[in-house]
Amino acid sequence: MRPGSEAELAEMVRDATGGLRVRGGGTRPVGSGAGEVLDTTGLSGIHLYEPGALTVVAGAGTPLSEIERRLDAEGQRLAFEPMDHRGLLGTSGDSTIGGVVAANVSGPRRIQAGACRDFLLGVRFVDGQGTVIKNGGRVMKNVTGYDLVKLMAGSRGTLGVLSEVSLKVLPKPEAAATILFDGLDDAQAVRAMARGLGSPFDVTGAAHLPEGPEGHPVTLLRVEGFSGSVDYRADTMAKLFGALPVRVERDPVRVAQLWTDIRDVTSMKGANGDVWRISCKPSDAPALVEALDPTSHIFDWGGGLIWALMPEGTDARTRLGMIDGHATRVRGAGTTPVFPPESAPVAALTRAIRQRFDPRGILNPGSFH
């Protein structure tokens, strides 16, 4: 099924007799895979782009690449830096903006600028009964009624099929630099990143690669902005660390490449094993990695995001135990559920919301729980 308009989409959902697998570009498949494919790529096109108001409104099936191109032409971008999952998951295709929103896909800049959900201003979607619903709008400040916009971000098509999204965009900075520390162990790295993130220098990326591009551990802090300001902050911050030897990378192409590789977890591309994504309290990260004992791992978000490569079939959750956060299996199969279990009251609320929005249980059956 490939609706060409929102009205058609509503009709198809209304008339559906069995499960529907909502599919954008197919670069991040969700759920158990049962049901007929509902392809959203017919809902494509940028409906409104107002660079002076920092807003873009687009059909949910619009390719991400198309949006990024249009923004780039005006010197703007999606500041939440959506990850490209294709390498890691071995998928192909063209990611859609609706898919990005439905999975709340964000990148390294999430720690400073916010996640996809923080930039999502409004949604239109079709619920499990085929009703068209809108929430939010296209202005940056809006508290009119309940915030279903946040609810839809990351709901993975389980509450409704997105038909249109509006997003806040930001100007691309003139310059970027990255401070690199060599040879830190996990604990030292997390402390260094905390130092950078807790400084007044507006760090927009903080990551640690135990096996960096040159084979040894490297810890990275990124600053972005006007060139004078970037130089000033990179140099001042480098001095913060006293005896710790640091390098500063200022070449724009190399800086961009470093962060694309972190964003897309390139180091685990093609490697054997399952990939787990753990969201945690940053200072807990070194101990959690010790408990996990992964084949390899990297830290993003100052340690608040751990990517761990585990031998196939490992249940990372039993190794982690109770944590402030949660673990999701992003790649791999097995009996352990993909999504983290929730506390009894949260699970009850989630079930009840899904039941209300999709009483027939036809939207992406098998995702979440």
């Binding site: 296209r138 400040k141 916009v149 609810l151 807790g198 983290p340 989630t350």
Partner: protein, 481 residues
């Protein structure tokens, strides 16, 4: 404004209900008719109604026990922080218990390595920053009411502030909450980690106006203070040009922490009141940037270059703290200035930034039509407008006239692609205008969420949703009692 009939059966059982509540919270229940009057309204003082009783618990467990009693007895509950809502969000009903968190103001945990603070939600906004300021940190959302308003109300209203252009509003700085549902269930959402593992329920709680649960604790993101900040004042002889300047600044990639806009009526009133020394012009912008001295210079150079291209009648850069304070003086006294002239009503619509000139022109035409003066002061960077309508509350019919004009202005905001409220919330004030922004099925989807969290519809009744939209549910719940 219409409110539903209070539940007579609940009022008739007042003595028994108070007795049960007192058993759960000895000495913490106010029920004397004169004493409960202190809670009869919030900052929207035009509407008042003394509650049945008031409870001031000091722990999550107590909140849970009180809610369970109210749930079982069918008593509506109105959560309350500091009562500074401008939308009537904490306005009681005669059959309700006011559940105030003012006695819950502790800092529970401060963690600089992980950049968060965990507090009880009765703590005031400013004192959250106060708890970390000595160590160089701050909590970013800063509503003008920050000295008085509580984190509880900030979360319920998803409050903004002067600096949200750069730092976002409450929802962008909220990491976790402890929430007590109407039946007494305690729920933990989020924490010291980022992002939800499942549905983003935290995102729904923020801005739900006290209708889904009572928030007793919150984990808030804190940031290191910037090295410095400096404003520049720019005057223009037309709103269009000022609007174009704002748009050009944003497009140029400068991200100021604040861009404030005042129109002529506001400039004149604030200048006369504060002696700020503002030029007498059509539109004034205050643009503030942050960073080290050199970084500030770099940004201000870009901003003033853009401003000059639009031929300003005045361009004043602050060279020291004193001058900076003078630039902000008038803006910060805007509400006081209006209050000294007359009674006023403060609106809070948001519009797409590019619609600014048109909307200002329409407002000035409507102001003439209604014969009520309107002054505009607002956060121009994000299009959040605060038109202030002046009226005389002692003159019969003026409040109603003012409310009518306010409604027309808010409808205009929706018409041009904006919304009814950018940061103050719907409450009772904008409840009946919701039909202008949302179709019935859009409201229905929101009410489904309410059904899930508060199946008996007891929390903060008769707010947010137009009474006709929520009527069927309210009558069904009463019939089921």
């Amino acid at each position: 404004m219409q409110m539903p009939e209070p539940n007579a059966a609940v009022i008739a059982r007042k003595a028994r209900i108070v007795e049960m509540l007192e058993a759960a919270l000895p000495g913490g229940i106010i029920h004397d008719e004169a004493e409960v009057r202190a809670y009869e309204c919030d900052a929207l003082t035009a509407y008042r109604c003394p509650p049945l009783a008031v409870a001031l618990p000091s722990s999550t467990e107590q909140v849970s026990a009180l809610l369970k009693i109210c749930h079982d007895e069918g008593v509506p509950v109105v959560p309350r922080g500091a009562g500074t809502s401008l939308a009537g969000g904490s306005l009681p009903t005669a059959d309700s218990l006011i559940l105030g968190v003012a006695r819950m103001a502790e800092v529970l945990e401060t963690d600089y390595d992980n950049r968060f603070i965990r507090v009880q939600t009765g703590r005031t906004n400013l004192s959250v920053t106060g708890a970390v300021a000595e160590d160089g940190f701050f909590y970013a959302p800063d509503p003008s009411s920050q000295l008085a308003c509580a984190i509880a109300g900030n979360i319920a209203m998803n409050s903004g502030g002067a600096h949200c252009l750069k730092y976002g509003v409450t929802t962008n700085n909220l990491m976790g909450v402890t929430l007590v549902l109407m039946d007494g269930t305690v729920v933990e959402l989020g924490g010291a980690h980022l992002d939800a593992g499942g549905l983003d329920l935290l995102g729904v709680i923020c801005g739900s106006e006290g209708q889904l649960g009572v928030v007793t604790e919150a984990t808030l993101r804190i940031l290191h203070q910037p090295e410095g900040a400096r404003p520049v004042l720019i005057g223009y002889d037309s709103n269009e040009v000022a609007g174009a300047c704002v748009s050009d600044i944003i497009k140029a990639g400068v991200l100021p922490v604040a861009i404030e806009f005042m129109d002529r009526p506001c400039i004149r009133a604030t200048d006369a009141f504060s002696g700020a020394g503002y030029p007498d012009c059509e539109a004034l912008l205050i643009v503030e940037v942050e960073g080290s001295d050199a970084e500030i210079d770099e940004q201000l150079q870009k901003i003033t270059a853009i401003a000059r291209r639009h031929n300003p009648v005045e361009l004043r850069e602050a060279t020291d703290a004193d001058e900076a304070a003078r630039i902000w003086l008038g803006r910060k006294s805007a509400f006081g200035a209006m209050g000294s002239i007359n009674d006023y009503m403060c609106l809070d619509g948001t519009i797409p930034v590019n619609e600014l000139p048109y909307v200002l022109k329409r407002i000035s035409e409507m102001s003439k039509e209604f014969g009520l003066e309107v002054a505009n002061v607002f956060h121009a960077g994000d299009g959040n407008m605060h038109p202030l309508i002046l009226f005389n509350a002692n003159e019969a019919g003026q409040l109603e006239l003012c409310e009518d004009l306010g409604a027309e202005i808010l409808k205009l905001c929706v018409e041009v692609g904006g919304c009814l409220t950018g940061e103050h919330g719907v409450g009772v004030e904008k409840r009946d205008l919701m039909h202008h922004q949302y179709a019935p099925q859009d409201l229905e989807a929101q009410m489904l969420i309410k059904d899930v969290f508060d199946p008996k519809w007891l929390l903060n009744p008769a707010k947010v949703f137009p009474l006709d939209a929520s009527n069927a549910r309210r009558t069904a719940m009463l019939a089921a009692e």
